[in-house]
């Protein structure tokens, strides 16, 4: 109320719907919401620690301490391929948990509360998507920094492109978390979603190299395409299998995988949102 003379109009005695004092520049709503949402994430240090530290730890175990890490592959070494995989696991864990908790908190009444405000769904989605990318960057960047000092090597373009693919692709997995949250609407959905990411990571050829029939099946699972695409600038499609041979994935395979899964998740999320409208 900086524009009213003190003593003439006390706050609140203005007639309803007349509070239109000019304000100069205001922070856009989305930025204020993003700041508050980030603060919420930082307030949960345990989850944040595991989100950031677990992929880093896994990289140090699998990506640096074994003899094969220094072996050449494509435009770099195996250590870098493992680094990309672990960073991808970390980034996806982060976005999945944010997607799931967003859906759960909305279904538990916060959605109705926001329904009473002029906030648009698209602004809300933009805020949560930005938040998930920002949070995903934490494990991603840490693992890349560790990789740089712990022996991962590759072309500059492989470093840059894989980082960008991981950061952007992780956003699609916020949809995966969102579907879990929308379908189950309880805190258990968040841990269920995170747990399933571990399973999908095994199938995504992330934790150790698969082979044979399991590898053939793995190529249909969502995390496989995501990590294979991120690794492509490094490996040019060559994959080390569990029985120490090399197989080749053409570029269309990870691209199709990512595109199809993103579409499936987007359609599922839309249908679940539609189901959840009305009385909650």
């Amino acid at each position: 109320m900086s524009t009213t003379t003190p003593g003439t109009v006390t706050p609140g005695t203005t007639t309803p719907a007349s509070t239109t004092a000019p304000s100069g520049r205001r922070t856009p709503a989305a930025l204020t919401l993003l700041r508050l949402e980030l603060r919420r994430v930082l307030r949960d240090p345990v989850t944040l620690f595991f989100t950031v530290a677990l992929p880093a730890f896994l990289f140090l175990i699998f990506g640096t301490s074994e003899d094969y890490a220094g072996d050449d592959i494509g435009n770099g070494n195996v250590g870098m391929a493992i680094m990309i995989a672990m960073a991808g696991y970390g980034a996806v864990s982060a976005t999945v948990s944010i997607g799931a908790s967003s859906a759960v908190e909305r279904s538990q009444g916060w959605g109705r509360q926001l329904g009473l405000t002029p906030l648009r769904d698209r602004t809300y989605v933009l805020v949560k998507a930005s938040l998930s990318v920002l949070v995903a960057l934490a494990p991603l960047t840490l693992v890349y920094l560790l990789g740089a000092v712990a022996g991962a090597s590759g072309d500059a373009s492989a470093w840059l492109l894989s980082y960008v693919v991981l950061a952007c692709g992780a956003t699609a997995f916020a949809l995966y978390g969102l579907c879990f949250g929308l379908a189950f609407r309880s805190e258990a959905a968040v841990s269920g979603a995170s747990g399933s990411v571990v399973v999908l990571s095994f199938l995504g050829n992330i934790f150790f190299p698969l082979s044979g029939g399991l590898l053939a099946f793995a190529k249909l699972t969502p995390l496989y395409g995501y990590v294979a695409l991120a690794r492509y600038p490094l490996t040019e499609g060559w994959v080390v299998t569990g029985d120490d041979s090399l197989v080749h994935d053409p570029l269309w395979l990870p691209i199709t995988n990512v595109a199809v899964w993103t579409l499936v998740l987007a359609v599922a999320a839309t249908l679940l949102v539609r189901r959840g409208r009305g009385r909650q």
């Binding site: 609140g12 007639t15 509070t19 000019p22 919401l33 908190e105 009444g109 509360q113 002029p118």
Partner: protein
């Protein structure tokens, strides 16, 4: 039960607070509102609001009273643009509900409105304030609203550590942020103890003195009686009574006249005869053996008819409790 206060006669009867605003655009106008929900597992659809016509003038304080399942929350959800009507129309301050919400003209304290446990009280207000483009500087309004709802001392507290009453005050503070013309409260005191309830209504009194229109749902008749100028009684998705609190109260607190007839087998016939004698005074007759229990807003006439015309004895007249009367009014509509 013949209603002495039919729902649709309302406009003639409650005008003390209304006439002054008669020419204004009504705060709320519902025409033939109906809202159904799909039944669980392919069952028959559930009719939450059957047929509601309602006009609320600006500046009125209205209690929407009714038992659980009466359709109060759904009616309010339509007014707030949270669910669209299945048929009929809803206008809020002359606009579609969603437009009114966007313009900050209407806000609400919802029964099921959730809060984020890991934000502080002030951050929660900042979050919601940011969604309104119209608010002056955010922080100034937030500080102001904190002050008015007595939350200033709690501003830095996490929502998770606030008591139920404190959280409800926060929801109320959120509703005040846009400085709304119409404030909707859905069972605002349901989770509060007596002290918190009293404090809440004291704050509400200050806020309504500012000329807002207030619509609150409750199933406490006392609360409606103490706070509203008009009561709209809902049951089974319809408005079953609508009038000034004094009228609805008078109607709701009719007396119960009971007396025995000599021959138990003639009791039912006696009840029918009483209904025929005093069609407008007899709200309800219950027969228990030889005893008739008559609910009536005109107990003297009923007593006379029972003793003189029906030769009954052992006459007793008691006041029906508010709750009893409330049940009586809503029972047949379940």
């Amino acid at each position: 039960m013949t209603s002495t206060l039919p729902p649709s006669t309302a406009p003639a009867s409650y005008d003390v607070g209304r006439r002054a605003h008669h020419h204004d655009v009504p705060a709320v106008r519902l025409d033939a509102l109906r809202r159904t929900f799909p039944g669980a597992a392919g069952g028959a659809e559930v009719v939450a609001v059957d047929h509601v016509d309602l006009e609320i003038g600006t500046g009125e304080i209205i209690a929407l009273l009714g038992p659980n399942g009466a359709g109060k929350t759904t009616t309010l959800d339509v007014v707030l643009g949270l669910v669209p009507p299945s048929s009929g129309t809803a206008r809020v301050l002359g606009r579609a509900p969603r437009e009114a919400v966007d313009a900050g003209l209407v806000s609400a304290v919802l029964q099921t409105g959730g809060l984020l446990a890991d934000l502080t009280v002030r951050e929660t207000l900042e979050y919601v304030a940011a969604t309104y483009r119209r608010l002056p500087t955010g922080s100034a309004s937030v500080a102001d609203v904190l002050e008015r709802t007595g939350l200033t001392a709690l501003a830095g507290r996490r929502v998770s550590t606030c008591s139920g009453g404190e959280q409800q005050r926060l929801r109320f503070a959120l509703a005040l942020l846009p400085d709304p013309s119409l404030l909707v409260l859905d069972e605002p005191t349901a989770a509060m103890d007596v002290a918190a309830r009293r404090e809440f209504w004291a704050t509400m009194h200050d806020e309504t003195a500012r000329g807002r229109t207030v619509v609150f749902a409750t199933h406490y008749l006392e609360e409606a009686d103490a706070f509203a100028d008009r009561i709209v009684l809902m049951a089974g998705g319809r408005v079953v009574a609508d009038g000034s609190t004094a009228e609805v109260r008078a109607r709701a607190t009719g007396r119960v006249v009971s007396a025995s007839v000599t021959d138990p087998s003639a009791a039912v016939a006696a009840a029918d005869r009483l209904r025929a004698l005093l069609p407008s005074a007899v709200a309800d007759v219950e027969v228990q053996g030889a005893r008739l229990r008559v609910c009536s807003a005109a107990p003297d006439a009923v007593a006379r008819a029972l003793l003189v015309d029906l030769g009954a004895h052992d006459l007793e007249v008691v006041s029906g409790s508010l709750d009893e009367a409330f049940l009586l009014l809503t029972e047949e509509h379940r």
